[in-house]
């Protein structure tokens, strides 16, 4: 059957069948038992003409409430930060968009150079010595950090704060199951990790202590003290951080982190309903040989000119095999490129502005929203661009009501913690206007009345 998506013409198919001595394609399938064969055509709608198809897809898309049609106050790991136009302009270039595994130094100096610059900027932002070319997303980055801590310390326990994104914790549990690494929870009784209690859990069996700052509830954690606790026990400190915030917040590397991981989606990668995302991974120099993932290094060619190559490949499983820290042998190059362009476009000053605006607007929003009767801040802790609101009515109902008014009010927390069933997680980025926040406050007051 001819199809414009199958390269062989009917004539070519006939010719090939002739060469192998078969009368038809059916003849090639005679060995499949009749009862395993479908004896009718597939129940598919007929093919649409391109114009009809486009009309159909547009109609489907129009049913979405997205950040273009609604004011987005949803966060919980995916944020509506602005994507500057140079990004869309550059990443649609074929050399970037459709290149598959472009890492041969002979053919891909441009690509390798952008990844080197990405690594450099991430290392600078996080205050670490070396960053890799990216992992899939924040969750898998954390999981890889857990495996790396185990490889480095040869210890079998990881203590994770319950302030770490619950989805990241589940992915980490999946990765740790095979190697038999035990995960232990450090409690977050009132918005931040109880470090005194965590100290009791961290001991000679602990490979790493993991904290997230700001944590899943938006609250800032005491990373420096967490570092002391981890190091006193000979364990590593892993910090989960949102790189967009690091123009304002102190680099985790300066606070004692041994490994920094996180979700880089806020760095110019569209939310896209959950992906593709950007796993940030950075570490101290003495740990580089146990780092997972691709690493691009700078070197010189035989004529002494500067060039870039994948380096330290003996870490990776295609050489080190069963002894490698991880089996990952890829990265999200296109998303890393978006982040590179984002950071280069905004520069030092621009990134600081994004952080300043996000936190200023979040604090303004918290003030306005808590004016509604019965609405209060759930945690009395310093926060950055996200906070949990305690509502007098079902957060799910409030979200549904406000969505009809063009507002994506936040993420209800019941699914993550039953004890917070009356809470809504609200995020505010530099994109939100005063008018949007005021409209949100008005609509919220009506919805909970």
């Amino acid at each position: 059957m001819a199809s414009r998506f199958i390269a062989n013409t009917t004539a070519e198919q006939r010719q090939m069948l002739g060469v192998i001595g078969a009368g038809s394609i059916e003849d090639l399938l005679v060995k499949i038992p009749a009862k395993a064969r479908l004896s009718r055509p597939l129940n598919l709608a007929p093919a649409l003409a391109e114009t009809d198809l486009v009309r159909h897809m547009r109609a489907l898309a129009a049913r979405n409430a997205d950040a273009d049609s609604h004011a987005c106050f949803m966060g919980a790991g995916s944020y509506d930060h602005y994507v500057p136009s140079p990004i869309s302009h550059m990443v649609l270039r074929g050399e970037f968009l459709t290149a598959y595994t472009p890492y041969q130094p002979e053919a891909s100096q441009g690509t390798l150079r952008t990844i080197y610059e990405y690594q450099t900027m991430i290392a600078e932002l996080t205050g670490m010595d070396v960053a890799n070319a990216s992992i899939y997303d924040g969750a898998s980055s954390l999981a890889e950090a857990a495996l790396m801590a185990h490889a480095v310390t040869e210890r079998k326990e990881i203590v994770l704060s319950r302030g770490v994104n619950p989805l990241y914790r589940r992915v980490t549990a999946t990765y740790c199951e095979g190697p038999g690494i035990r995960l232990r929870d450090a409690a977050v009784p009132d918005g931040v990790t109880d470090l005194d209690a965590a100290k009791k859990l961290v001991g000679p069996k602990t490979a790493a202590l993991v904290v997230q700052s700001p944590n899943f509830y938006g609250c800032l954690e005491d990373v420096a003290t967490a570092a002391e606790i981890a190091h006193a026990a000979g364990a590593l400190l892993v910090v989960v951080a949102d790189p967009v915030n690091l123009g304002v917040l102190e680099a985790p590397g300066k606070l004692g982190a041994d490994i920094v991981v996180g979700e880089g989606q806020g760095l110019g990668v569209p939310m896209s309903f959950g992906g593709p995302n950007l796993g940030v991974f950075a570490a101290k120099k003495d740990l580089v040989r146990r780092m997972p993932g691709r690493l691009v290094g700078a070197t010189v060619d035989k004529d002494g000119r500067r060039g870039f190559v994948l380096t330290l490949q003996t870490r990776e499983q295609h050489i080190r095999r069963a002894k490698a820290t991880s089996n990952i042998c890829t990265n999200v190059a296109l998303c890393a490129l978006m982040a590179t362009i984002y950071l280069a476009t905004l520069g030092r000053r621009g990134l600081v502005r994004v952080g300043e605006l996000s936190t200023a607007k979040a604090h303004y929003a918290a003030e306005r929203l808590t004016k509604a009767p019965g609405v209060s801040l759930r945690f009395a802790q310093p926060f950055f661009k996200e906070f949990a609101l305690k509502l007098p009515k079902s957060p799910e109902r409030v979200v549904a009501k406000l969505a009809k008014q063009g507002i994506l009010a936040g993420v209800p927390l019941k699914a993550f913690d039953r004890a917070l069933a009356d809470c809504l997680l609200v995020a505010v980025t530099e994109k939100r206007t005063k008018a949007e926040v005021d409209a949100f406050a008005e609509a919220l007051a009506k919805a909970v009345a």
Partner: protein, 130 residues
């Protein structure tokens, strides 16, 4: 043909062993360093660690490969060559001299007799080449 000093003993994994009183000094052979290419990193055990004959005690990394290092005899590590951290290329330059890796205090004298003589190692290499 690679250099195979007559006074040393050898393993099939291309380590050499040198008797020094009641201690055994260990490294990798000229053949091994040639095969590996430029050595960029050597991971050695800490002083005091126990090693077991024919089991891995460390790792040697070149630009293109990673290889386990196998202990010729069982015992305790009494010295580890710290110079190799700074200058791993010493393994290529002087595999039998400054490129030594560890010194073991053997726990079982019988292990020594299991090692290949220089002639046996040479024959082994000739065979492996076929």
């Amino acid at each position: 043909m690679a250099n195979i000093p007559k006074e040393l003993r050898y393993t099939r994994e291309h380590e050499w062993a040198k008797q020094e009183g009641d201690r055994v000094r260990v490294g990798i052979t000229d053949y091994a360093q040639e095969q590996l290419g430029d050595v960029v990193f050597v991971e050695l055990p800490k002083v005091g660690a126990k090693v077991t004959a024919a089991k891995a005690f460390g790792v040697v990394e070149s630009v293109k490969a990673v290889s386990d290092l196998f202990a010729p005899v069982s015992g305790e590590v009494v010295e580890a060559n710290g110079e190799l951290t700074k200058k791993p290329e010493t393994v290529n330059q002087e595999p039998y001299g400054k490129g030594w890796m560890i010194v073991i205090k053997p726990s079982n004298k019988a292990d020594w007799d299991q090692l290949l003589t220089a002639q046996q190692y040479e024959d082994f290499l000739k065979q492996a080449a076929h």
